[in-house]
């Protein structure tokens, strides 16, 4: 017979990515502390998020190249309501959308910058936060 324990709040689970065959090299790169981006083998254009076909020349061949970590703020939001309760303990947190020097945009938390300092074009730099054995997530720090 099973016993029913006193109600305790569930431990909220962090949402984690489920890498696909198309995106695995990106996640492998983050785990190794590198920003790896997909470049078309046909026309050379960079793309993000990862996908099987180049939308410019329709080549299905691509190469993964290490990209520089610097970028500039495109926009941001400061999240106050957690929506997912895993994030409750860290609200408010800032999510910056950043135009990377490599030519793609990356969305990630921005730490170490006052809200009053946020502005379009402010320089930031990508950093790496291991959150499990397999997964490292990106975040930004002032550049």
């Amino acid at each position: 017979m099973s016993t029913v324990s006193a109600a305790t709040p569930p431990v909220p689970e962090r949402p984690l990515p489920t890498p696909t065959r198309d995106s695995q090299p990106y996640w492998d790169g983050l785990r190794e502390g590198r920003l790896m981006l997909q470049h078309c083998a046909g026309c050379g254009k960079v793309r993000h998020y990862p996908r099987p076909v180049c939308p410019h020349c329709f080549s299905m061949e691509s190469q993964w190249r290490q990209a520089p970590l610097d970028g500039r703020i495109h926009s941001w939001t400061v999240c106050h309501h957690p929506f997912n309760f895993f994030f409750k303990s860290t609200t408010p947190y800032t999510i910056a959308l950043v135009d990377m020097a490599a030519g793609v945009r990356i969305n990630a938390p921005l730490r170490g910058m006052a809200e009053s300092a946020l502005k379009i074009g402010a320089p930031v730099r990508l950093a790496f936060e291991p959150v499990s054995k397999d997964v490292t997530l990106p975040y930004f720090v002032p550049g």
Partner: protein, 386 residues
């Protein structure tokens, strides 16, 4: 030559349930309740429905309508999975079906337990079209529409000087209209001060910038115009209708321009089909998932120039009696959230001149938008037939 679809289809029936926060009814029950009302409003029997376009995901499917309404010969069943843009885009599909004679009467319907059932925080990641967001954005703490759209709103503010005072105006005017309606979730006046004092959700969006989580259902019947003329209601035709999809449809973050979405492509098509322009519109029901999305859509629709949506909503211009009254029923911000089908119901009511205290005097031509799925857009221009 006029577009082949112009005015060939009409909204022959409209129906909606009570909009509430808390219900014991299922989403399907709400959807069917609204459907029966719309069919009755048209003066039709459920047996006359031979096409269904239910909201997906999260509602009835064709089999449910056959089983519950005893449909004897369903000729078309379809989903238009465009999130909040689904219902208005479904008008295009229904119009094509009835104008070609494939169907006589197509039922578009939504039922939703958005308050007493699945809430917004859990809904998004279950949709296949949000797989990219679930993989790349949810793990960093970006998964609710309020957060995802907030970055666009912030950029608009930075580039064009748009203010939260202008956001508040949309919320306050919408609430004023809701109170005239009666069948609404939020029925107390809202002030600019209360808007500014409401808690921050995802900067720059405060609580009163966000649409309601609510329970309710809505439905419309689309019939061929030549048949609808003989039905019970004043003829309201679909003069122009279109859908549009943005670049990077599944991720706002990767879109070349955060502020340019599917409606930019849909609007010229719909205006072209109807053979009219923004200046001809008497009343507009604009998909208001957030206050800012109204401002942005007014720009993409051509009611004002890019960046001028903020000033455009001020000075009573979007209120009843103003230059372009919008969301005369209270919208998603104050009436209830049934994925925008309530906007279609209201616009039809306006053009029948049956909108009660919220009636826009002599409204002849109206516009309704849908907006969803990270930026899909849809727009319909409805006309009160002579």
């Amino acid at each position: 030559m006029a577009h082949a679809l112009r005015d060939k289809a009409a909204i022959s029936g409209i129906g909606e349930t009570a909009y509430t926060r808390g219900t014991t009814k299922s989403g399907l029950a709400l959807q069917l309740e609204a459907s029966l009302k719309a069919i009755d409003d048209a003066g039709l029997s459920p047996r006359d429905i031979d096409g269904v376009v239910p909201y997906f995901p999260g509602g009835g499917i064709a089999e449910d309508f056959i089983a519950n309404l005893g449909l004897p010969d369903l000729a078309v069943s379809a989903f238009v999975p465009m999130g909040g843009a689904s219902c208005v885009a479904a008008l295009q599909m229904a119009a094509m079906a009835v104008a070609t004679g494939v169907c006589r009467n197509v039922l578009i319907s939504v039922g939703r337990t958005g308050y007493s059932g699945a809430r917004v925080s859990t809904r998004l990641q279950q949709f296949p079209q949000f797989a990219l967001a679930a993989e790349f954005e949810a793990p960093i703490g970006m998964f609710a529409p309020a957060q995802l759209y907030a970055q666009g709103a912030r950029r608009h503010m930075e580039l064009y000087g748009t203010t939260t005072r202008q956001f508040a105006e949309v919320a306050v005017v919408t609430r004023r209209h809701a109170i005239l309606n009666g069948n609404v979730v939020m029925n107390k006046p809202l002030t600019v001060e209360e808007h500014h004092a409401s808690r921050m959700i995802a900067d720059p969006f405060r609580l009163y910038d966000c649409s309601l989580e609510s329970d309710g259902g809505a439905a419309v019947v689309v019939s061929a115009s030549d048949r609808a003329r003989d039905l019970r209601q004043r003829l309201v035709t679909i003069s122009g209708v279109a859908e549009g999809h943005p670049e990077s449809p599944a991720s706002i973050a990767q879109r070349p321009d955060l502020l340019e979405f599917g409606l930019a492509k849909a609007a010229p098509r719909a205006f072209g089909m109807a053979g009219v322009g923004p200046k001809d519109i008497d009343v507009a029901e604009i998909y208001d998932c957030f206050t800012f999305t109204v401002i942005n859509q007014l720009e993409l629709l051509g009611f004002c120039k890019k960046g001028e949506g903020g000033p455009f909503v001020m000075d009573g211009r979007i209120a009843l009696g103003g230059e372009l009254p919008i969301n005369t029923h209270g919208g998603l911000l104050s009436q209830g959230h049934v994925v925008g089908l309530n906007h279609v119901v209201e616009l039809t009511r306006q053009l029948r001149h049956a909108a009660g205290k919220a009636q826009v005097k002599d409204a002849e031509l109206g516009l309704v938008t849908g907006y969803g799925d990270m930026g899909d857009g849809s727009v319909a221009i409805l006309r009160r037939a002579a």
